[in-house]
């Protein structure tokens, strides 16, 4: 019981290394090995969350390695961990089931899935770490563990994207590292996440501006993974990776690790009260506002389907960041809500894009004319998710946007009003760049190559079932949102 929390983190890492050593030849053996590993990890992780809910925060807290009194690698689950860890633990098995089928045409599955498993453990590590040092460790590990996944194709494009990805992420993390050093020096002596911040008011007196500069640096450092302007570029380029990677890592796990780290930075490190109303808040908020509009506008101008979705992710991540930079509990609530719904929606859309590429080889939006007719299930799920992303009530994105906007109005910050304007503008752009896809797929214009179209089919059940499950869970989560939002509200007030 004492070290129970380490299991969901270490187990997939070890099993991943095991897969690399074993190199099973038979597809069935490999599939069942991977599926079992992922499922066991998810069960372990979710039971950790459940145990914490039952027994309180300290029940599972443990220290892995202790360097000194203030420096240690330690784990603990709190409210924010539950949100991020919960999303990841639910989505990972679903996308794994999808990936097992999808990767059959990409090759090198052993290598791919061993890193896939390791990444799972590392992501859970980010979710469950107790202090900044552990967070930083897993954060860097995540870059390294996912690099082989991004570069999986190993052609020039993939190598280029991978290099871009690793340099962006590592340089970002180095900026974040500065933040940690300052937090330790001006803090209460440890780096454990504390709602309200770890800064010591006596020590910071007179050094406020230095700390704010450091905060901005650290924000952009973590923001690199959350694809904030002007450090967004790696994300669209990384869409050369196999689709399950784009779906899970570049719509959920990695990019939300960035957003999650920023939650930690603002609300559990520097403290929202210290930052609210300062110039630093304005700077970071302005950056998120620019990103919101910029991402949507670029998405509209991008004809490549996966890249368009990636730009859409850039924009939507900044919805979350914008909400977080409101520095109020309502802002945190909005950010977490959008984090949950966007995860479900965007992962479904990427999986649909993957299914389209897998079955038809079509990658550009203008090639999708009339595909709605020949791939009914794929496009039905894509359409529902599109509407959810646009924020059409009662689907998922709406609740998130409403919460964000409500928080922004309530904060009374003049720049927050600009942010609402950006949200609205971005919603219009989102409608445009998604509706054009959907409308073309269902209401084609121009000449069609019917013979080629008729050869396209919906993917097999092993891909259709995850698609349907993902869509259904997204819709259900939106319709029965009461419990979820009450839970998130508790988290955002620091109760959990």
């Amino acid at each position: 019981m004492h070290r129970f929390l380490t299991f969901p983190i270490l187990l997939p890492i070890l099993l991943g290394i095991g897969l690399l050593c074993l190199q099973p030849k038979s597809r069935r053996v490999r599939s069942s090995y991977i599926m079992a590993a992922v499922l066991v990890t998810s069960v372990l992780s979710l039971s950790c969350i459940a145990l914490t809910l039952l027994r309180g925060e300290q029940a599972l807290a443990c220290i892995l390695v202790s360097f000194s009194e203030s420096f240690s690698i330690s784990l603990r689950i709190d409210g924010a961990s539950m949100v991020y860890g919960g999303i990841v633990s639910v989505l990972w098995p679903l996308v794994t089931a999808y990936a097992l089928d999808y990767m059959s045409h990409e090759g090198h599955e052993n290598r791919f899935f061993s890193f896939w498993l390791m990444a799972y453990g590392v992501v859970l590590g980010i979710a469950y770490s107790e202090d900044f040092l552990s967070l930083y460790l897993f954060y860097e590990l995540l870059t390294l563990a996912t690099l082989p996944l991004v570069m999986h194709g190993m052609d020039e494009k993939a190598r280029y994207a991978g290099r871009q990805y690793v340099v962006y992420s590592l340089s970002g993390a180095s900026f974040a590292f500065i933040g940690m050093v300052f937090l330790l020096n001006y803090g209460v002596g440890h780096l454990n996440f504390t709602y309200g911040g770890v800064l010591d008011p006596n020590l910071i007196a007179g050094h406020e501006n230095t700390l704010l500069i450091v905060f901005v640096a650290a924000f952009f450092g973590f923001g690199v993974k959350a694809a904030i302007f002007p450090f967004y570029k790696w994300l669209p380029d990384a869409s050369v990776a196999p689709t399950p990677v784009s779906a899970l890592l570049h719509a959920v796990a990695v990019v939300k690790a960035g957003a999650f780290a920023i939650v930690r930075l603002i609300y559990f490190g520097f403290g929202a009260d210290f930052l609210r109303g300062t110039w630093a808040q304005n700077v970071v908020m302005a950056a998120t506002i620019v990103t919101i509009v910029y991402g949507s506008a670029r998405a509209l101008r991008t004809p490549h389907l996966k890249r368009r979705l990636a730009f859409s992710t850039v924009s939507n991540l900044s919805y979350i960041l914008f909400s977080l930079t409101l520095m109020t509990p309502a802002g945190l609530l909005g950010g977490l809500t959008h984090m949950v719904y966007h995860a479900f929606v965007k992962i479904t859309m990427f999986c649909c894009a993957g299914a389209i590429i897998h079955k038809s080889g079509r990658e550009y939006v203008y090639e999708l004319e009339d595909c709605g007719r020949v791939m009914p299930v794929t496009f039905a799920t894509f359409t529902i998710s599109s509407f959810a992303l646009i924020g059409l009530p009662p689907l998922g994105g709406f609740a998130g946007k409403w919460m964000i906007a409500e928080g922004a109005v309530a904060s009374g910050n003049p720049m927050a009003y600009v942010g609402i304007g950006a949200l609205i503008l971005s919603t219009l752009l989102t409608t445009l760049y998604l509706i054009t896809i959907v409308a073309r797929a269902y209401f084609p214009v121009g000449q069609l190559d019917t013979a080629a179209l008729d050869r396209i089919r919906d993917p097999g059940w092993s891909m259709k079932v995850p698609l349907i499950l993902l869509t259904a869970s997204g819709v259900l989560l939106a319709l029965v949102s009461d419990g979820l939002i009450r839970f998130l509200a508790l988290v955002s007030q620091g109760v959990l």
């Binding site: 340099v167 180095s174 500065i178 570029k233 509009v293 059409l392 009530p393 509706i435 949102s481």
Partner: protein, 647 residues
């Protein structure tokens, strides 16, 4: 019981809608039975809802903030009207789509929209209203593009753009209201709005303005009417009937809520609504007079009638305490207009199915030998023109009376009433134009000699269900018009409580005082028809009279203003984005010149130049593409750290 009824009304059509696909696979007849029956069940539910004026339903936790429904008064009236329209178009649709492909999609979204519309009308708070309002906008988009022609897609684009922009503006308005009051419960808004301190009233005006734009866009209010004349002609006829008959009313419903509950007797607000209403009323009528397309005329007519209703909404505010006449007129005109447009658009559908044209020149004389259709169309036309004895006369008289009453009120207080006399005259002139364009339609289709080359049409030009639907609609119009005291006034009294109307008094519709307004209108109508339409808008070509489209094509608000403005904004946005992103490049370029030599070349894949990440010219965007920049980032971080350690 009441809760179940409400849930049934809202959810049943939505949940049942996908069933059209498996049913159609079984057989066409089954699907058609389903399409006819389900709206009838809904109509029965709506009728049962009349018995429960205080019905409420709360669904906490759905869609974030929870949904809250309530019935009674105007809500029930609108729900019943909507269900009646759905049931009638349900009877008509199978005949209309008898030879069409892909109508399953239409049916599916037809039912989805019904559920959403029920949600709008039954909403007890503005949040719920917004949720269903947005759903309705998107599901009805499919109606507009159903035919998949190029015009349909373009009109659909316009429709969607207006709906989305309106919806977003509405969302901003609601957020501001939520911030002001902490609740969006409609029944509480009035007390809260009156208790609002003066310094926060600006926010209230901003919020109200946003809501007015959002609701007005759906209602077809000037200057957001652009989608109306485009979307209606391209949509299938049953869909046009619903779009113009009842979907626009959801916007009007919203405007009424905002006007009554937030700005009870607020002078500036009511002036704005009145001005917009008058412009919409006149402009719609003028457009309709010029149009030579059957459905476009009817669409412009809808716009004009919405203007009448908005005038009524504003007059209620002016008359504040004694607003019964205005409130009744508003409510009844909403009801009448729904029924009238049902009859007229379904008739248009019948005509279109036989002739495959909507141009009046092609339709001349088509209806000469079709007495049933001729009679029904006449009732609809006479009603909308406000001929005494038909229902439209009653509501128009009430609206007219409310203006007259306010003029008296002003004169009594010794104030100038010139502005309102102008409004009265514009009101009467618009009524006259209505009569003129309806005469134009009626004469063209049912009276004038047959156009050369026009087929007489089959004997069976209309299915039995369609004639039943048309007959019921026309009978309702005629019945109500002949017995206003028994039928219309009690209805109006009940529905008026939602608009907080006072008790009012019975009006004698068939006395000279009240008939005078209608007579002036009809006289203007006759003059316009004889002098303008027959002289200027028609031309003798050989032995026949030909209808001319004299409206200048360039005079189109959408193409003249909105599209260029949007394009301009897009250009400015793109320009700004480019400037912002090249600022970074410039910095790197300078840094590079000073610090680094150029990085090794970039991989450009040989066969994939479309792939956007590889700029053909490596210099175009340097920020992301060079290793040196990455190194500089990392180095910068380390230098900062070093500086800190030293200091």
């Amino acid at each position: 019981m009441e809760g179940i009824l409400i849930a049934c009304l809202v959810l049943l059509p939505m949940l049942a809608s996908p069933a059209v696909y498996p049913l159609r696979r079984h057989s066409r007849a089954w699907r058609n039975h389903f399409v006819r029956t389900l709206p009838l069940i809904e109509l029965a539910c709506a009728a049962a809802l009349i018995l429960f004026p205080d019905a409420q339903l709360t669904l906490p936790g759905v869609c974030g903030l929870g949904l809250h429904f309530a019935a009674g008064s105007l809500r029930t009236l609108l729900v019943v009207t909507a269900c009646f329209l759905w049931a009638m178009t349900g009877l008509n649709s199978p005949a209309y789509f008898a030879h069409a492909e892909g109508c399953n999609r239409y049916y599916c979204f037809w039912l989805l929209t019904q559920g959403a519309l029920m949600g709008v009308f039954l909403a007890a708070d503005l949040f719920t209203l917004f949720v269903f309002f947005e759903m309705m906008s998107f599901t009805s988009y499919v109606w507009v593009v159903q035919n998949e022609t190029e015009e349909a897609l373009r009109a659909g684009g316009t429709y969607l753009a207006v709906a989305v922009i309106g919806g977003m503006t509405l969302l901003v308005g609601l957020l501001l209201l939520q911030d002001l009051f902490g609740t969006l419960e409609i029944s509480q808004l009035r007390a809260l709005a009156e208790a609002l301190p003066a310094e926060r009233r600006t926010q209230l005006y901003v919020a109200g303005g946003c809501c007015l734009v959002g609701f007005g866009a759906k209602a077809g209010m000037f200057p957001l009417h652009i989608w109306l004349p485009k979307a209606h002609p391209v949509a299938p006829a049953p869909a046009s009937a619903l779009l113009s008959g009842i979907l626009t009313k959801s916007g009007v419903f919203g405007v009424l809520i905002i006007s009554r509950y937030l700005f009870w007797a607020d002078l500036p607000w009511n002036t704005v609504v009145l001005a917009l209403g008058v412009v919409t009323m006149v402009l719609g009528a003028v457009l309709a007079v010029f149009s030579i397309d059957l459905k476009r005329t009817l669409a412009c007519s809808s716009m004009s009638q919405i203007g009448f209703i908005l005038v009524g909404a504003a007059m209620q505010g002016y008359l504040s305490g004694e607003n019964a006449l205005a409130a009744w007129g508003t409510v009844l005109h909403m009801l009448n207009h729904s029924l009238i447009k049902l009859v007229l658009f379904v008739s248009a559908g019948v005509i279109y199915v036989s002739t495959h044209s909507l141009n009046l020149n092609d339709l001349r004389g088509w209806g000469r030998n079709k007495p049933w259709l001729k009679g029904v169309f006449f009732i609809g036309a006479a009603s909308i023109a406000g001929v005494p004895g038909f229902s439209g006369y009653v509501s128009k008289t009430l609206l007219h009376e409310s203006i007259v009453e306010y003029i008296h009120l002003l004169e009594h207080e010794g104030l100038s009433a010139t502005a309102f006399q102008a409004v009265e005259w514009l009101f009467l002139i618009s009524g006259g134009l209505t009569a003129a364009y309806m005469t134009k339609l009626f004469v063209a289709i049912f009276v004038s000699p047959r156009a050369s080359g026009l087929h007489l049409g089959l004997r069976e030009y209309m299915s039995r269900e369609t004639s039943v639907a048309l007959g019921l609609g026309a009978a309702a119009l005629l019945g109500m018009g002949l017995t206003p005291g028994f039928t219309m006034e009690p209805l109006a009294e009940r529905a008026g409580t939602f608009l907080m109307a006072d008790h009012g008094h019975a009006v004698h519709y068939f006395t000279w005082v009240n008939l005078k307004g209608a007579c002036i209108s009809l006289a203007i109508g006759a003059a316009v028809y004889l002098l303008v339409i027959r002289r200027l808008l028609m031309r003798r070509a050989g032995s026949e009279m030909e209808y001319l489209d004299r409206w200048p094509a360039w005079l189109d608000l959408e193409n003249l203003v909105y599209r260029p403005v949007l394009r301009g904004l897009a250009f400015v946005g793109a320009f700004c984005a480019r400037v912002v992103s090249s600022a970074g490049d410039l910095m790197v370029l300078i840094g590079e010149k000073i610090l680094f030599t150029r990085a090794p070349g970039i991989f450009v894949p040989k066969h994939d130049e479309n792939f956007g990440i590889y700029a053909r010219k490596p210099r175009r965007s340097i920020v992301g593409d060079t290793f040196s920049f990455d190194l500089m980032l990392a180095g910068g971080g380390l230098i900062l750290l070093l500086l800190y350690l030293l200091l």
